[in-house]
Every structure is written in C-alpha cells, then in structure tokens.
Amino acid sequence: MEKVVELSGVQKSFGKVRALKDVSFTVNAGEVVGFIGPNGAGKSTTIRTLLGIIKRDSGNATIFNMDVWKQSLDIHKRISYVPGDVSLWGNLTGGEIIDLFIKLHGNGNKAKRDNLIKRFELDPRKKAKSYSKGNRQKVGLIAALSVESDLYIFDEPTSGLDPLMEAVFQEEVARIKQAGKAILLSSHILSEVERLADKVVIIRNGEIVEIGTLDALRHLTRTTITIETEGDVAVMADLDGVHDFNQTDHHAIFSVDNAFINSILLVATKLGVRRFEAVPPTLEDLFMRHYEG
C-alpha cells in the first residue's frame, strides 16, 4: 500500500519541555488511522509538525514522500485540515469563511459545499462570533470536506457536535475512505475511532506506545466475562488466566487473557451455565490500561 504519511523518530522540544520524544508511524492510502492519547500527550504538536507550522528538531517526517517542512506548499495543495479548536473571525459570516477557505485551498466543489451546509444544518448567514463551538467546528469541517484532497487530517473533529452531526461526519469519512484517501483522525471519542479506524496509534508523553489494528490490539488484552451458573462459580477464580474475579452468589464477573478462553469454557460447561456474556475489550479499556499502567 502507498504510504501517505511517514514519521520516524520525530522529536520536538519547546524550551526545556520535550513535547515529542520519539514519534514514528505511517498512514497509508485508503486507511483511517485513529490517533489517540490524553491531553498534552503530543497529538496536536505532531499534527502541527506534519503541517509545517512548527519545525521538528530531529527525525524524518514526510507526506506524499515530501519533507513536511521544506516542501510544505506542494503538500498543502493536496491536504485538508480541521483544527481541534476552530477559531474564526467574529465579524465574518460562516458562509464567507467557508468560501474563503475553499478558495485558498483550491479544487472546491460548490454543490458539495451547499449540500454539506444543508446536511450539517449550519446557518451560513450568521456572524461567526455568535456560533457555538459545535457550529464553528461545522464551518471547519464543511470547508475541509468541500475540497478534493488526498490526505485529511482531523484534530478532534467532532468535539462539540451533537450525535446526529457526528453521524454525518462519520458518513463523510467513510465516503472519502472509499475513494482511497488517507485520513489521520485524532480523537478523544473512542467509540468514534473504534467505528472508523483501521489502525490505532496511541501516544503518551510524546512517545508512541502502541500501534496496530484494533483486532491485533484486542488480542493483547483480556475479555470481560459475565457468567451465571447452577453450581458454585467460585472454582473458576483459581484458573489460569483469570483476573479481577468478582462473585455475588451464582453470578461472577472477571476478565480473562484471550489465550485461556478455551480452558475457561471447558470448566464452565461443567457448572451448568445459565447465562454467559463475553465482551471484547473496548478501546477505552485499552486506553485505560496504557495510561494507568
């Protein structure tokens, strides 16, 4: 697959603060990469480095095989970006700002713009200062989605959007993914990343701590089991691979290493199962494990 974004060993310090210690990952064409991490982990710094807004101290960073700092203009012709906090000129209307962004980017599609304004239910005649955070975000998204690009970078794109609008955004992302574009999606909303992303990159304290497909990451972790049995469920507590065992009468909740699922099931069948639920780890569990542990 064609590599659209490639970072290796990128470092950046602001004064004494080392914002990025070692950032390496790739984004391929036709792929949605979820970029997650807590506040201050370096997500936005990484994105600004990619955009050539700030200059990395060391390491390599390319988009379309071009250096993000030296060839930023050629790169910028083919990317769309929506910042995490869309900040607009208070005395211009939403419609004017969208038109301006489209014009400055080039390759705009007017029909697409009008259609998106309708679907996102934005009133383009209002001055930007009267927009709520969600409406400002819509302005940024509509401008970015109305133009043709090969790479889309979204930094917390749906913060402030209501669930209906989030759904519109997700449809749009699915559409551009279908068209073979690359998408870097930084987000806190893990369910969104879970739904959209093919690959997840987790950053913590300026370092990438985990990269992989969601499935692969899940394999590294435990499944949560809820079980209700006829016999005494307590015997399961001592089995290999069982953790955080919690019992109330015939009812138990515990987590299990995925490698031991079969042996657990063998024991369980002998106890007379009334109810059995196995929940794969959510991204949230993955996330928490990385940040707590």
């Binding site: 700030i54 910042p83 869309v86 211009l92 004017e96 014009k103 400055l104 200062k129």
Partner: protein
C-alpha cells in the same frame, strides 16, 4: 438590589489580588509622570523664564495643544500656574485612557472571552462584576490622586501649595473616573470589546478636540465639556474645586445609566443591532489581501478618519495664530528676529506630531498578523498552499499603504483648513504641507520595520513598539517647551528626520532611514518564514 450585586465584594478583592502589579505600575508611572517634574519646572521658571513661557503659551496654537491658564498677565504667572498649565490636561488625558482600557478589559473583554458566563454561574449577582470593576477603578484613581498630591508637596517648592497639590491630584484622579464611566457605558452599548475600546477612545479624542476649539474661541463653552472639568479647576491659582463636584455628579449619573443599560440587556449582546450577513463570500474577500483588508477595515477606517479630523483641527487654528501675532508685539519680535515665520515653525512641529500618530495604524496592521496567529484564526490557512511569505508581504504591503494614505490624509486636511483659515499672507502653500508629510514617510516605514522585526523574531514584543512611539511623541510634543539635553532628544527617531518646512529636505537622512527600515523588514521576513508559529503554544 441584593440580587443584582450579590457578592460583588468577592470579585472586588479578587481583582485587587489579580491586578496588584498592574495597579502598582499604573499608579507609580502615571503618578510620577504627573507630579515629578516640579524641580525641572522650578529651574525653568528662574529669571525671565516665567514671563517668556507665559507669552509663548498665549499662542492659540499652544492653548489648542495644552490648554489655557487662568492668569491674565505675565507678571502674575507663577511656578504653580505654569505646572498646572502645562501638565494637567495631558496627565488627565492619560488617566482617562488608562482607566477606560482597564474598565473595558474587566467588563466587555471578559464577556467576549466567556469568563463572565462562568462567573455568573456561581452565586454572583448579574451586575456584581461591573460594580466591582468601577469600585476598583475609583479606588485606584483615589490612590493616584493622593500620591500625586503628596509627591508635589514633598518638593516644597514656592507656590506649590498643599491645597493646590491635592486639587491637582484630585483633578487627575477624577479624570480617570470620568474615563472609566464613559468606558462602562460603551461596554454596554457596543457588542464587542474592540468596539467598546474604540468608541471610548473616540469619545475622549472628540472631547479633546472640542475643548481645543472652545478653549481658543470662548472658554465659557469649555465649561460644558467633561474633559475640561479637570483643568478648569486651575490648581495653584483659582483652586476651584466646584468642577470636581460637577464631575462626580456626572459620573454618578453615567454609572446609573450604565447599570440600567446592563440590567436590560442579555449577556454577550449590545444595543447596536446585528444584521444577518451574507451566505456566500464576495469575490473581493476571496484572497489573502482581500481577507486582510476586511480584517483591518474597521481599524483602518476609524484611524484614517481620525487622522483627517486631526489635520483639520490643527489646520483650523492657523487663522487665530496669525491674529495673535498681530496683537502680541513681544512674540512677533521674537519671530522676526530669528527670521522664521510662526506658521512655518508650527507646521514643522505639528507635522511631526501627526506623522507619529499616523505611525500607529501601520504598526497595528503588522501586529494584526501575529494576533491572528495566536488566536488560531489562521490554523486552517497555514494548512493550504498559501505561503508564509504571502501572508508576511501582504501585511507589510497593506501596512505601508495605510501609512501613505494616513500621511496624505493628515497633511491634506491640515493644508486645506490651514490655507483657508489664514487671512494674511503666508509662505506656506499646498506643496509645502504635502512635501513635509511625504518627507516623513521613512519614519513611518521605520516603525513598520520594527513591527516586522518583532513579528519575525520576538512576536510577543510587538506591543513594545508603541512604547517607543509614545516616547518619541512625548519628546516631540514637549521637546520645544522643555529644555532637554541633546542626547535625550536624539533618542527619538523623529529628531533625525528633517523638520520640513522649517528645515529643507535632506536626501541623506531620508535615504538612510529608508534603507534601515527596508533592512529591518527583510530581517523580520527571514525570521518569520523560519520560526515556529505560536499556535496555542
């Protein structure tokens, strides 16, 4: 009442805690500026100094600039009279402006930033913030008045009486409170903090110009002008405190109006109507230059109008000036002996002052680029094919254009009004005004260069340029009255520029300043295209 102002005292103490450094600098710098020149004036008043100064300041042009005195004959002019004459109006003006900026900063600005919303969600009255702010400002101005009075008494100078000193301080303090109440009203009427600041400064400027006119023509009319209530107290001579009582009553009424207006409006809105805007952008907006023109439009129009008014205001006194010369033998002798016409001499000074003021606009336009950067307005634009050079040169170009238009407007309006009010023959014609204006173009470009330099290398210092500009302004405004050492006056850029039409055109200094300015711009450019953009960092 309780509902409206609940727990304002908490906010009040919070503000004192938050602002104490600012308050300290404010009181000390303005206080010492207003009171600290006593020894200096004392020296100046020795010998024939007082009489000469009295005659000089009788010139309508001088009354226009610094205000009147209550003394009618040179023999009665004292140190105290001279001090109040030269210092009171300007000190009051500064006190007004600083207080006004402070009030807008704590009211409308916090509303714009969304802080008010947060504060109001607690058990705090709807109008507690305004009350806390105005009480804080009154307290600050009270302390300022006391400091000024005490410092002046401490010099123990002849005719600087205790009564006069405290009246002098109180007049300045009252000016501050006046500025604060005007700002509080505008903060309710306008729908943004920049609108509130702009309109307040506009009103203060207008009051200044109106008083200039009435002081020269008929001082009775000045008594209706709130700004005049400060210097009409005439400390050390008349010691007429009644004007301060008018001012206090006026302030009280203004505050009540402001609170009523605030009580009747929704948070975040103003009284000027909001229209629905365009759903599509005009073709003229769709480029970087179009965008920058749009973003700077209001600032540019208001300053350019201000320049034109300023030029016309100064131009309108040329007629009075000629009349004054006719009637004053002593001064006429002075000018005749030096072989300089008073109009020419006045034009050179005024032109330089106007050029310094004209420089404010280009600096503001260049600084705007950095403001946009830190406010994250350009995030999405940085990610397009628009280059940093494009942003930089558009700003510099627009700024230079604003400077040239500013110079032309100011000198043209000065020329037209001056030439039309002068009844007697004068060596001045339209070309001498325009020439004098354009001659100072390099000095405007120099400030653009300074702004470009900070933009590229130390963007957070962009505002410091105004400090240097203000310094140059004071030296030029008072340089002719105060007898400063040469190296001090040389530290202002404008002393290196030929003062046309008094001096003749100097190609040397013109080119050198022009070249230095261009270099500054280029150095700034090389920094701007290399540095990290400060986005929320």
């Amino acid at each position: 009442m309780k509902e409206k102002f609940a727990r304002w005292d908490i906010l009040f103490f919070q503000y004192l805690k938050r602002d104490w450094k600012k308050i300290l600098i404010w009181i000390l710098s303005l206080g010492l500026f207003s009171s600290g020149f006593v020894p200096f004036f004392n020296e100046m008043s020795e010998g024939e100094g007082l009489i000469a100064m009295y005659e000089t300041l009788q010139n309508p042009a001088m009354i226009y600039m610094i205000g009147p005195t209550s003394i009618n004959s040179a023999g009665d002019y004292t140190l105290g009279a001279m001090y109040a004459h030269e210092m009171l109006l300007f000190s009051s003006l500064f006190a007004m402006i600083i207080s006004a900026l402070h009030v807008v900063g704590h009211t409308r600005k916090e509303e714009d930033l969304g802080l008010t919303e947060l504060v109001r969600s607690f058990q705090i009255g709807r109008q507690a913030n305004s009350l806390a702010t105005i009480v804080e400002t009154i307290l600050i101005n009270g302390l300022l008045a006391l400091l000024i009075g005490s410092v002046m008494i401490s010099f123990d100078a002849y005719t600087i009486t205790i009564e006069g000193s405290f009246l002098f301080g109180a007049s300045i303090g009252m000016a501050g409170i006046l500025g604060a109440t005007i700002a509080l009203i505008m903060a309710q009427i306008m729908s943004s903090s920049s609108g509130a600041t702009g309109s307040t400064l506009g009103i203060i400027g207008l009051l200044y110009i109106i008083r200039a006119g009435t002081d020269v023509t008929n001082i009775e009319f000045s008594k209706a002008n709130p700004l005049s209530w400060t210097y009409l107290t005439f400390p050390f001579t008349e010691n007429d405190g009644s004007f301060l009582i008018y001012a206090a009553v006026f302030c009280l009424v203004m505050v009540i109006i402001a609170f009523t207006l605030e009580g009747a409006r929704d948070m975040g809105s103003g009284y000027l109507p909001e229209r629905a805007g365009r759903d599509h952008a005009n073709q003229s907006l769709l480029s970087i230059s179009g965008l920058f023109i749009r973003l700077n439009k209001n600032v540019m129009i208001s300053w350019l109008v201000a320049f034109a008014i300023m030029g016309a205001a100064y131009g309108s006194i040329y007629g009075d000036m000629q009349g004054f010369l006719e009637s004053n033998e002593l001064i006429r002798q002075m000018f005749v002996s030096t072989g300089i016409s008073v109009e020419v001499s006045f034009t050179s000074t005024i032109m330089m002052i106007m050029i310094i003021l004209v420089s404010i606009l280009p600096i503001a336009v260049v600084n705007k680029l950095f403001n946009e950067e830190v406010q994250l307005h350009l995030s999405q634009i940085f990610a397009t094919k628009v280059t940093r050079s494009h942003l930089f040169w558009t700003s510099i170009g627009l700024s230079t254009l604003a400077g040239v238009i500013g110079i032309l407007l100011a000198s043209l309006s000065l020329a037209w009004t001056a030439l039309s009010t002068m009844t007697q023959q004068s060596p001045l014609n339209l070309t001498s005004f325009i020439g004098a204006g354009l001659n100072a173009f390099p000095s405007v470009l120099f400030f653009i260069g300074l702004a470009a330099l900070t933009l590229g290398w130390a963007p957070r210092w962009g505002k410091a340029i105004y400090v240097y500009l203000g310094y140059s302004f004071l030296l030029n405004y008072f340089g002719s009255i105060l007898d400063l050492p040469k190296w001090v006056s040389r530290s202002a850029l404008h002393s290196w520029v030929a003062h046309m039409p008094l001096d003749s055109f100097e190609i040397g200094s013109f080119t050198v300043i022009l070249m230095i300015s261009l270099c500054l711009i280029l150095i700034g450019y090389s920094g701007y295209i290399r540095r990290d953009l400060l986005e929320g960092a």
